[in-house]
C-alpha cells in the first residue's frame, strides 16, 4: 500500500513513506512536522493549505503524494523568516492583518506568486487574483491593504 516518496520542502529533501493517495498536506503536517499549512476544507475551496509547487500556488489538501513528483515545495515557513521576511509577510505585520490568522497560508502564498508575476497590479486585479480564498474573520480590507503595500515594496 505505502510507497517511498522524496519530498523537497523549503530546500531540504525528506523521505516519506505513505499511501500514494494521501494528500501532500498530511505529509507536510504529520510526517515532516510542519505546522503550516492548515487543513480548512480538504476540498480546495478555501486555501488554508496552500503551498507552492515549483512556484505555483497549490492546494495541498487535494494534491496526492503520487502527483508531487520532484516538484520543489515551498510553505509559508519557507517563504521568508523574521530576519529575512517576504514583502507580504512584512506587510501583513505592518498592516496588522489578523483576526485568527488560520487562513494566512492561502492569502500570502497565492499573493506571493501573483505579485512575483504581476507588477503594479490594480485593486481589481488583486481581488481577481485572490478570488475564492476564504477569510471567515472578515479581514479582507486589511488583507487588500497588505497586498497593496507588498506590491509597492516589490516595485
Amino acid at each position: 500500500m505505502t510507497q517511498q516518496f522524496s519530498l523537497n520542502v523549503n530546500g531540504k529533501v525528506h523521505a516519506v513513506e505513505a499511501d500514494p493517495n494521501m494528500p501532500l498536506l498530511y505529509a507536510l503536517r504529520d510526517d515532516l512536522g510542519l505546522n503550516n499549512p492548515h487543513f480548512g476544507c480538504g476540498l480546495a475551496q478555501c486555501g488554508a493549505c496552500t503551498v507552492h509547487l515549483d512556484g505555483k500556488p497549490t492546494r495541498s489538501c487535494v494534491t496526492p503524494l503520487a502527483e508531487v513528483g520532484n516538484a520543489k515545495i515551498v510553505t509559508l515557513a519557507g517563504l521568508g523568516t523574521a530576519d529575512k521576511p517576504h514583502p507580504l509577510q512584512a506587510a501583513y505585520v505592518e498592516e496588522q492583518v489578523p483576526q485568527c490568522a488560520y487562513c494566512i497560508n492561502g492569502w500570502i502564498m497565492t499573493a506571493a506568486a501573483f505579485l512575483r508575476d504581476k507588477k503594479k497590479p490594480t485593486d481589481a486585479e488583486i481581488r481577481e487574483a485572490l478570488t475564492g480564498l476564504k477569510c471567515r474573520c472578515g479581514t479582507h480590507m486589511a488583507i487588500l491593504r497588505a497586498v497593496k503595500r507588498a506590491a509597492a515594496m516589490m516595485g
Binding site: 505546522n35 487543513f39 485568527c100 488560520y102 494566512i104 471567515r136 472578515g138 479581514t139 480590507m141
Partner: protein, 761 residues
Amino acid sequence: MTKHEKSAAFSRRALLKAGGALVISIGAPIAFEDVCAADAATAVVTKPALTPDQLSSYIAVNAGGSVSVYFGKMDMGQGLSVAIRQMVAEELDVAFKDTKIFIGDTATSVNQGGASGSTGVQEGGHQMRMAAAEARRVLVEMAADKLGVPADQLTVTDGVVHAKSDATKKISYAQLIGGQFFNVHLDWNGKYGNPLYAPGKANPKDPKDHTIVGQPIPRDDIAPKVFAQTNFAMDVKVPGMVHGRMIRPAVAGAVPVKVDDGSIKDIPSAKVVWDKGFLGVVADKEWDAIKAARQLKVEWSQVAPPFPNQASLYDHIRQAPTRKREEGKPVGNVDDAFKSAARVIEAEYQWPFQSHARMGPGCALVEIKDGKVTCWTGTQKAHFVQTGLAATLGVQQDSVRVIWTSGPGSYGRSDADDAAMDAAVLAKAVGKPVRVQYMREEGTGWDPKAPASIHQARAALDASGNVIAYDYLSKGFSRIDVNTNGSEPKDTLAGQNLGVDIKSGDGFGLPGDSYGFVNKRTAWETIAPLLDRASPLRTAHMRDPVGPQIHFASESFIDEVAAALNADPVEFRLRYVKDPRDVAVIQAAAEKAGWQSRPSPRKDQSGDKVSGRGIAYAQRGPSRVAVIAEVDVDRSTGKIWARKFTVAHDCGQIINPNGLRHAIENNIVQATSRTLWEEVKFDRKNVTSVEWRTYPILDVTEAPEQIDIVLINHPEIAPSGAGEASSRPVPAAIANAVFDATGVRIRRAPLSPGNVKSALS
C-alpha cells in the same frame, strides 16, 4: 470552610515572616502572633492558591522585573491581549514592553468567563485594571517601608518606585518582589465567569493621567503567525498521540445499530469507538483515520426525517407553540394606542439559520496520563471546558487542565467545545492521547447554529404622522438551545450522543435602542428545537448572538416608518432617539458620510444598475454604533455590492484605537457576508450546507471598496464591548440602502442574488 478560606489558611501556614526574612514552615504548629506576622507579608516565595481572591492569580513580577499577566479570558484574534496588557501596564506604571500575558490556561488563570459577549475589556479588563492598581499600591507601600519615605510621597516610573522629591531614593519592583508572589487578598464577589470581580483597596488612575491606555500599540502575535511559528490547537502534538474522526448520520437523529469493524480491517491500526449514538474511529496516522471514517460500514436506526421543508421554515416558526416569552420594560399602553391610530404600519422579517463555518473545523487534543487530563483546544471558554471534561470523564475538576490554544476563528459557541468532548471520550476509550479534527462537512453541517427567527413589528401613527405606539416581537429558536459553553455534557454532541438527559435553554433578545415612543412594547418568544438531541440545527451563540437578526428587523422597520412618512431616515431617527450618545453616533456617521437629507427611495435612477444609501444604528450593552451603507444593486442579476460603509462607534474609553478599528472593520465585513450570502440549507433529513459551495460567504471580489470609521472616545466612561457591536446594524443598513436604490423592501435575509432578483421582479 470555603475554598477561599482554605487557601488563605494554607498561605499563612506555609509562609511566616520573621525579622524581615522569609521563613518557610510547613506543617508546624502556628502561634497566633505568627499568623498576624504572616498576614503582614505581602511577598511570598510559594505561590498562593489559584483562587480569584488572590492578587497572585492575576499578576506576578518576575525576577528580572518583567510583569506576567494571567488572564481568564481569551483573545480570539481581535488583539484583546494587547489591550489587557495596556490596562495593566498603565495601572502598574511599567513599560508596556515589560508585560507578558498568559491567557486561557486553567493552570495559570482563574475563570473570568472566557471569550464571552465582548466582555474582554468591559469585564475582564476591568478586573485586571483593579488588580494592577492594587499591585501598585502594595508595591508602593513595600517601597515606603524599605526607603523610609511615606507612600504618598512616592511615585513610580517604569517599574521603579522613587521619592517624588528625590529620584535617587528608589527601589525597583524587581527588588521588592521579583521572583516572589503577592500574598494579597482581594475582595472577591464570590462569582466566577464574566461577573467575577475582585478589587483591592486601590482606586485605578484618573483617565486623564493615562499614557499607555489609548495608544495604538501594535500586536506582537502577528509576526510569529506570518512566519509559521505559532502552534494553533490543530498543530499540537504529544508523544503516542493518535488521530480520531467522528462519524455522523446521514439522517439527523439516527443512531448506529450495527457497526462492521471488519470493513476497516485493511487500514493499519484503525479502531472503532462506539457507545450508543457516539461513533468514531482512531488510527495512528491521520490519513488512516480519515479513510477509516469514510470506509466504515454502519447501519443506522430508521428515524422519521426530523426537519420541515426549508420553504416552510418561517411558517413553522410562526405556528410553533411558544416555549418562553419575555418582554422588555413596557412603556404606556400599546394596545389602547393602536385603537386610536390614524394609520398602522406593520411588517414581518425573516432570518435564516447561520453557521459559524470557521476556517478550520473543530479540533482538540486530549491526553489522559497518570490520573491527569490535559486538553489543548481553541475553545472560547477553557475553564468551562475543564468542568465539562471532568463531567464527561467522571474525574475531579482539579485533575483536568485545559490549555487554550489559538483556533481557526471563533465567534461564539462553535464546534470547538464539541471537539474537546469527543476527543476526551475517544482518548478514554483507547487509552492514548487522541487528536480529533472534524472534517469540513462537520464544521459547517454539524456546528451549533445561529438561530433562525421571524420578527413582527408594527407602529401606530396619529393623523399628524407622529408615532404613538410601537410593538415589536421576535420569535425563533433559542440562542441557548445548547448553552454558551461546554461545561455540561448535555450541551455537547458527545454528551447528547451518549444519552445524557438534555435540557434546552431559552433565550433570545430585544432591540437595543433609545427610541422614546410614548407607548412601546418589545418582546421575544422562543420555540422548541426541530430535533431535540444531537441535532445539526441545534442553536447557540454566534457573533453578537441574535443581534444581527433582531436589528435587521427593528432598524429596517424604523426605515419603513420613515419612508411611509416621507421623512429622511436620519432625521426621523433623531426625532425619537433619546440617548445623547446614540444621537452622537448617528450624527457622526451622517456627517462623515456626507449624508444629504431626503426621504427614501431615490427617484432619480433608471436602468438595471442603481445605487442607494441606508442607515441603521443600535446599542449593544453600553456600546452604540451607527452604520451607513452605500450599495450598488444590479437589478438584472439581483447582485448587491456593499461598496462603502461609514461607521460611528462609541464604546466608552478606547484602550487601543488600532485594535478597535480592526475589530470594527472585520465585524462590518463578516456581517455583510451574513447579510448578503449566508443561509444554512437543509432538507427533511439533514443540513445540506456542508462546505463553502453550499454555504457561500463573501468573496474578496465583493469586499467593500471603503470602510470609514469614526471613533468617539469617552475616556471618562468605562470601556465597553467592541468585539461584536458593529455587526448588528449592518444587515438593516444594507437592506435600507437596497430600498433606497430600488424602492423594494427586502424583509428576508440573506439578500442573495436569487432572493433579491425574485423580490425585485
